[in-house]
């Protein structure tokens, strides 16, 4: 490599190659990227430092200065006003059941399509694929009417059932493509040993595919946590609101006090950020799996 560089003395390119070898290019990239990363975190940082200020501190020193002291008044006041603990509990229940039911349905579907290779599977997969492209607006009014008709309007189960089924369209699509590459020899060996399809599902396929299922469950949980339109329409009463919904619809109802607004943003961000820190690896893997199989 070094000799190749010497043989090619064309000025600018060689200069750049040298730069690279000395690592200057890497240092420049590092400075640029750290600046970008800090810019990206800046809104979050602003929410943190202003949420703990007193209104007086904010008026005197503005938003950019560090707080004079740490006060949790605004955070506590906002959390109590919107009953934030209840919203978090609602979001946890809804997201948990969507992830659970969604993953079970996805897995059963994918087992038939990817392992069973049943007839017509390409058509069925295409239908599922099209389904998760339909915008929520194209379904919401009939779902609202149906939820009212069966008595699930304003029950968290309406959102759970609808989202679990809708997300399982994506899950089926993703798991089927993973399962269709499942090693044939393992399945054949199990069949020769006399294992039926149900035993194969539990004892052979499920243990091997479990990491992918966990990625899928994490994605479903996050999507449910962040979902807005279905809860907005199907969960009108205060007691059933999710975190995403509570923050979305109460905007402007609070005081115009900027520290309370910062506190609201911070309180809304917090569960997601905690979740992100814990599941960062799974999530990033999930994003890549979801985009390019």
């Amino acid at each position: 490599m070094t000799s190749a560089n010497i043989q090619k003395p064309s000025g600018w390119v060689r200069f750049k190659t040298q730069l690279r070898r000395q690592g200057i290019a890497s240092w420049v990239a590092l400075v640029v990227m750290l600046a970008v990363a800090l810019t990206w975190l800046f809104p979050l940082y602003m929410a943190v430092i202003n949420a703990v200020k007193t209104p007086l501190d904010f008026i005197q020193h503005g938003s950019l200065s560090l707080p004079q002291g740490i006060h949790f008044d605004a955070i506590i006041k906002f959390s109590e006003d919107v009953n934030f603990g209840e919203k978090v509990w609602n979001s946890i229940q809804i997201s948990f059941f969507i992830a659970l039911i969604g993953v079970v349905i996805s897995f059963l579907n994918a087992y038939a399509l990817g392992i069973g290779k049943v007839k017509g599977r390409m058509v069925i997969l295409a239908i599922f694929m099209i389904a998760f492209t339909i915008p929520q607006e194209g379904l919401i009014y009939p779902l609202y009417q149906a939820a009212t008709a069966v008595g699930l309007y304003d029950s968290i189960w309406s959102v759970i059932i609808v989202n679990a089924i809708l997300m399982s369209a994506f899950g089926t699509y993703m798991l089927s493509s993973v399962l269709s590459t499942f090693p044939e020899e393992i399945l054949e060996a199990a069949k020769i040993d006399g294992a039926g399809s149900a035993r194969m599902l539990f004892n052979i396929v499920l243990p091997i595919i479990r990491p992918t299922i966990m990625v899928l469950a994490t994605l479903f949980f996050i999507w449910s946590w962040n979902d807005f339109l279905f809860p907005l329409v199907l969960l009108p009463s205060n007691d059933n609101q999710t975190v995403a919904l509570a923050l979305g619809v109460t905007t402007g109802q609070w005081t115009s006090d900027p520290t309370t607004k910062a506190a609201a943003a911070l309180v809304g961000l917090l569960p997601s950020v905690i979740f992100f820190v814990i599941f960062q690896r799974t999530l990033m893997r999930g994003v890549a799996v979801g985009a390019v199989k």
Partner: protein, 308 residues
């Protein structure tokens, strides 16, 4: 002879039966799916041919809603805005994501290790997992005209002329929301491109280095061409996301001021739940659905072609 065909037939039957057993696993999921998703969609399409307020008896008016939509300037303008959000959510993040992803993967990770590159990726990705409505609340506060962080900063730098009423001024609202959307989307594109780069054959880069190619040349020739599958998929999925955009618009401007930030979803929502023009809203959401389904089929084709 006759006996052997009978045996073969029997065996074939047996095999078919064992395959048929798998259909049972599909029954609960597919039935629920047909009823809830396909049923709703079908009902929505049917309603698009009616005039209905949601309570009284619907009146069948044929394709009237669709012809009305075609001549409704608000509907046309909502797609124009969606087009501008495609720039903010799909095109800019794809371009920057490739560049930043390459910087991280090619220059930072090898020299400074995983901890720093994970931190940078994490910082960029963080807005992706926050509910869009929470991001909306955060940015309303950052962008607020008098006490917002952005205008306070601009004033501190004596750039008072730039400290406009971001969300309250029809000329700026679209741009203000676009800035937030770039902030949200960058992590998605960057993370996908980095994971794509890790599957590239390192000997390609080495060969280019030996040939004396500069960094940017290598970026253009190797990374961009080799990542073509990821790029096309990311562009299409983010375009779909841009066309579906609803939460931030509803929270931040509700389509306003006037209809300066109206998008197809907020237009539809307004007609469903504010003016109760259910038939009209159904027609609008059907048009959007058809556009998105066509895009989905294109994604499918692209993925299949890349897989071959």
């Amino acid at each position: 002879m006759a006996a052997s065909t009978a045996v073969a037939g029997k065996r074939k039957n047996h095999k078919d039966e064992s395959k048929k057993a798998y259909y049972w696993y599909l029954v609960p999921g597919f039935l629920a799916f047909l009823v809830v998703v396909m049923g709703s969609f079908f009902f929505n399409v049917v309603m698009s041919f009616s005039k209905w307020d949601g309570f009284s008896k619907p009146e069948w008016i044929g394709t009237q809603n669709y012809t009305d939509l075609l001549s409704d300037p608000d509907f046309a303008v909502s797609f124009l805005h969606a087009g501008e959000f495609i720039l903010a959510m799909a095109i800019i993040p794809t371009f920057l994501g490739l560049l930043l992803g390459a910087l991280i993967f090619d220059l930072i990770q090898p020299k400074f290790g995983n901890a720093i590159s994970t931190f940078i990726r994490g910082a960029l990705f963080m807005p992706q997992i926050v509910p869009l409505t929470v991001s909306g609340v955060l940015w309303i506060w950052l962008l607020s005209p008098n006490q917002g962080v952005i205008n306070m900063t601009l004033n501190a730098w004596h750039l008072n002329a730039l400290a406009v009423n971001w969300l309250g001024d029809a000329r700026w609202a679209l741009i203000a929301i676009s800035i937030m959307l770039v902030w949200i989307q960058m992590g998605y594109t960057t993370v996908i491109f980095i994971s794509g780069m890790s599957r590239l054959d390192p000997s390609l880069t080495e060969a280019a280095q030996i040939d004396g190619a500069g960094w940017f040349q290598r970026f253009r020739v190797i990374i961009v061409t080799q990542l073509a599958p990821e790029i096309s998929v990311v562009l299409l999925t983010t375009t779909v996301a841009a066309l579906k955009l609803f939460g931030p618009i509803y929270v931040m401007t509700n389509g306003g001021p006037g209809n300066a930030t109206q998008v197809p979803s907020s237009f539809t929502f307004f007609n469903y739940f504010t003016t109760f023009k259910i038939g009209y809203a159904s027609a609008a959401s059907t048009v959007l659905s058809v556009i998105l389904v066509v895009l989905a089929i294109v994604i499918q084709r692209v993925q299949n072609r890349e897989a071959k």
